[in-house]
Symmetry: C2
């Protein structure tokens, strides 16, 4: 049973080969991680979630999250750079909105996973 010993750090070469064959390509892994990272921060998640409902300005978001306008602006820059939000100017005010409404779908999908996990923990 040679293939079950960890020679050269590989226990099951066949499994590793299969995994390699189906592995995501590096560029896509990077993109996916960046997208997920956006929603891994409570502030950003709430910003995007709020904007999915209505456009809001920096001041509004700062008030909602109860953080400085500068902090919000930094987060919005990140979102802008990633192409996830866009803005329109009205005087000195910049109104932000999501670039893709399907971001709501991503959040909803994740929420459904959590809800069911809760249920299974409660034995439902």
């Amino acid at each position: 049973m040679g293939s079950d010993q960890c020679i050269g750090r590989i226990v099951h070469q066949d499994k590793v080969d299969l995994a390699r064959a189906h592995d995501l390509d590096p560029a896509q892994v990077e993109q996916l991680c960046q997208l997920f990272k956006v929603f891994s921060e409570p502030g950003r998640l709430r910003i995007v979630h709020a904007l999915l409902q209505q456009e809001m300005c920096v001041c509004d978001l700062a008030a909602l999250l109860d953080v400085s306008e500068s902090a919000v602006s930094h987060q919005l820059r990140l979102l802008r750079t990633m192409g996830l939000v866009v803005n329109r100017r009205e005087g000195t005010v910049l109104y932000y909105r999501p670039a893709d409404r399907r971001l709501l779908g991503l959040i909803r999908f994740a929420r459904s996973l959590l809800e069911d996990e809760q249920d299974s923990l409660n034995g439902k």
Copy 2:
């Protein structure tokens, strides 16, 4: 037009109120962010993605990702703690698998978003 001035840092009180009303509750925000954070790291994303195809042991994953077994073990502990993966023991070998196959759906959903973004950048 008093409501358009930033008195008390709030430009549009109505918008803030509406956003507050529809805001995710803090506990859910935390849970969602933790879930997204899992996939915000290339190593973890690839681990989960690989396990969604077939169960694998620590050694296999280390070989696939080309990192130390200790690093993989640390990541797996996180995934275990979050209840995202489970394992079964066979002798000294621990075979890991995802606790919820719908995690694949989450990854697929995110991928579809990226693909369409690519398309729009290319003017398709």
